[in-house]
Structure formats: C-alpha cells, structure tokens
C-alpha cells in the first residue's frame, strides 16, 4: 500500500468518525482539510493572478497598462482604514459597472429572451399544454401584489404543485449525487485500502 493511500484512508476514516459522534480526531482532520485548502487556493491565486496578471506583464513584458487594474486592486484594501476607506468605492464602481455591462445583455438574451421563446410552443401536444399551465400558474404564485383568493388563488395553488414536483425531483437528484460521493469513498476504502474489492 502506498503512503498516500494510507494517508487518504486515515483521513477518510477520521471524517467518518463524526457519524458516531463529534470527536478530536474528526476535528483535527477537518482543520487540516481547511488549512490545506486555503494553502492550495492561495498558491494558485498568487500564481494565476498576482504573478501572471501583474508581476510578469509589468516587470518582464513591460506592459504598463497592467498598472491600472493593479492600482485598482490595491485601492480595495483601503477599506481597512477608516480615513481612506472611501477610496475603495472607485474600484467597486468599476467592478459593478463593468460587471453589469457584461452581464445584463448576456442574461437578458440567455435567461429571458431564449427562455421565453422556448416556452412559446404550439399547443399540439400534452407536454406543451402542461408547460403552459406550469409556467402561468408558477408565475401567478410568485406574483405578490394581489391577494391569492378566488380564481387567481386557485391558479397560484396549481403553481405550488408544479413547484413541489420541481423540489421533489431536485431532492431525488440530490440524494443520487450524495450517495455517489459516499460510494466513491467506500469504494476507495474497500478496494485501494482493504483490497476486498477488485
């Protein structure tokens, strides 16, 4: 058995020990995981952001324009000071402005226009009718400017059934996903660690 398999198995069992009760071994494994994750993210982000976007362009490629985002980035840290905290508003304004400019047209196209056109189907099948009823009744449920009573209340109630079907399907898929993760760990323990399964 390789040392990495042994380490992975010990940590897997340490995390599983929480299922019995909270204990120091579980806590140690959890803290080590968090520490390693932060270290990993830090190394990747320093390399992929600070080195590749600031240091290399400025000092090796002579691209002085990289100074602008670098200075804006540094200005973000001014929030740590009460006196000069207002400076952070400038990079935030750039971030929000550019973000909105990039995202709004894309979202309008992908999330609203395309979805609306996909919902407007000829009513020549049961599926299309169900979709029409589902869309209208679900939208009625989320319309909060009118009391849900009478015909409107009835339509909104139908919407809740569609939502419940959605939540049920999502729950089923979630169970499937989480069980797969457990199977993955058990498979590792039983094959790589214990050698019970080939």
């Amino acid at each position: 058995m390789s040392p990495e398999t042994l380490v992975a198995a010990v940590f897997t069992l340490a995390i599983f020990s929480f299922l019995y009760r909270e204990n120091p071994i579980y806590r140690a494994a959890e803290h080590i995981l968090v520490g390693i994750s932060v270290g990993y993210y830090l190394v990747i982000l320093v390399e992929e952001t600070i080195l590749s976007k600031v240091v290399n362009p400025l000092f090796y490629d002579g691209r002085m324009l990289s100074l602008i985002p670098a200075i804006l980035g540094i200005m973000m840290f001014s929030r740590l000071s009460r006196k000069s905290g207002w400076l952070a508003r400038i990079p935030l304004a750039v971030l929000i402005g550019a973000g909105a400019g990039v995202s709004i047209p894309a979202m309008l196209q992908a999330r609203i226009l395309k979805q609306m056109s996909a919902s407007m189907l000829p009513l020549n099948s049961i599926g299309a009718v169900v979709m029409l009823v589902g869309v209208i009744s679900s939208l009625a449920y989320f319309y909060f400017s009118r009391e849900k009573s009478g015909l409107f209340g009835g339509v909104a109630r139908v919407g809740t059934y569609f939502l419940m079907v959605f939540f049920g399907a999502t729950f089923g898929y979630t169970v499937m996903s989480r069980v797969t993760l457990l199977i993955g760990r058990m498979e590792f323990l039983m094959s790589d660690f214990l050698g019970l399964v080939k």
Binding site: A110, T170, V175, M176
Partner: protein, 267 residues
C-alpha cells in the same frame, strides 16, 4: 417500534452496509440510454476528426467520485474518435484533477501531449475567461499547464477562438454550464455539451429544453449510459447496483418513517 426515536447512527450503519455489501458482488444492472445522454454522444459523433473539442473541468475535489466517471466516459469517446482535445479548468481545485484525468485516459489510448491534446490549466474569474476565449484563447491562456507556449505545438497553432471548436463540454458539479450558455453560447454561438452532477440537472433543465445546452450526461447513471454507448464497462456501470441498493434503503426508510408518523398521529 417508534421510528422517530431511532438512533441516527443505526441509519448510518444501515446505509454503510447497503453500500458495502453490494460492492462485494460484481453485479451489473441493465442500463437504458436516455435521450439526454444520447444527445451529447450524437453531437460528438458528428464532430470531424480535424476539429477541436474543449473539455472544461469545472468541478471541485469533493465531487470527484461523481465527476471522474463522467469525464472518463467523455474523454474515452473523444480519443476513440481521434478528436483533438483542449482541456482547461475554471475552478482552481479541478486543475490538477483535470490534468491527471486527461493524461491517464490519453495514455490508455496512446495519445501524445501536444499532438492529440493539450491542457491549458486554470484561469480565475470564469466569466472573463469564457468571454476572453471568444476573442483569443492565447490571450487568456498564453501558456499551458506545463508553462509552455502551447501555440508552439504545430497541431494546435491554428487554434484562435471558439470558431475552431466543434464543441465545448463542461464537466461540472456546479452552475458553470449556465455561464457557458450565457457567455459562450449566447454571445459566440458555440455549442455547449454538459456532463454534470445529478444534483444540478433540474437547475439546468430549462437550458436543455431551449437548446442553449446539449445533454446532460448526468451523475453516475448518465456515465453508465455513456459507457454502454461506447461498449465499455467502467466504474459507473459497476456502481449502479450499489447505488440502487442505497436508494432502496432510503425509500424504505422514508416510507417507514411516514407510516410511523401516521400511526402515531392516529393514536
């Protein structure tokens, strides 16, 4: 027996047994291929050998057991068809896992780095990365994961942007495929195939129905379906029996608990 007072550790133990015992038996359940999985398979079948396919490893280490069979099935198909593969990662944790996976599968097919596939590595800020690659992949990824100028590989030197990619496949455990649909599909018209964690299927469904995304090959079942289409028995098909056993236990527990609650209320 009042199930509401059942010690939760007994449920954990039952779940452990429901998974461990079937694992000891090498049982393969029959698999029916659904149209969602077939959509991704058919799309890859239509891609010419000279074209490139981008495979984005958009997942974290925690979901690797579910993501690996999906990535392996898709990569097996791409390499079997001699399609040039460009790997990348938009989540930092997926970077090394993606490289290991693509290298393993490429080696099994006798494929060479720089000739049959390259791996670009990770870029932070996925929205800028997705948008940037629509203009110039080289500007977003000047170097590959191995810190080499990837344009020096002759077979990849003509790769400029999504116009050269027959398909982008996002192997994802989160919402990244939606961003691919919003920024790469809507803006640049590139087709996006999805292999995703089962938990994300309902969130993506409207995008598949509207044609913004292709697929999905979802979860271990989707991977098993894909393995069947390829005629290979892999990890996913072996896991289906174990998965079904765990699902049956959950159904029994849910029904039992509801029945117990009903009886208690009746008393």
């Amino acid at each position: 027996m009042d199930l509401s007072r059942l010690d939760r550790r007994i449920i954990f133990l039952l779940m452990g047994l429901a998974i461990a015992i079937p694992m000891l038996f090498n049982v393969t359940l029959p698999v029916n291929v659904e149209k969602d999985t077939l959509a991704v398979y058919d799309k890859i079948e239509m891609i010419e050998e000279s074209e490139y396919v981008m495979v984005s490893f958009d997942f974290e280490a925690s979901s690797f057991p579910e993501m690996r069979p999906l990535a392996v099935a898709i990569l097996n198909h791409l390499f079997e068809r001699n399609i040039k593969v460009i790997g990348l990662a938009l989540f930092s944790e997926g970077t090394a896992l993606g490289f290991t996976t693509i290298s393993d599968i490429a080696e099994k097919h006798g494929k060479k780095y720089g000739i049959d596939y390259i791996y670009l590595g990770f870029r932070p800020q996925y929205i800028s990365a997705i948008l940037g690659m629509g203009e110039s992949i080289a500007r977003v990824f000047p170097e590959d994961y191995l810190k080499k100028q990837w344009q020096e590989y002759p077979l990849f030197s003509g790769l400029e942007n999504y116009d050269n990619a027959g398909l982008v496949i996002s192997v994802s455990d989160g919402s990244l495929p939606i961003h691919w649909a919003e920024y790469a599909n809507a803006r640049y018209g590139v087709e996006i195939g999805v292999a995703c964690a089962a938990v994300m299927v309902t969130a993506f469904k409207p995008y598949f129905n509207s044609g913004q995304l292709i697929g999905p090959v979802a979860g271990v079942k989707g991977a098993a379906e894909y393995e069947k289409l390829l005629g290979r028995q892999g990890a996913a098909q072996r896991r289906l029996f174990t998965q079904s056993s765990a699902h049956i236990l959950i159904i029994v527990l849910v029904l039992g608990a509801n029945l117990a609650a009903y009886m208690r209320r009746k008393r």
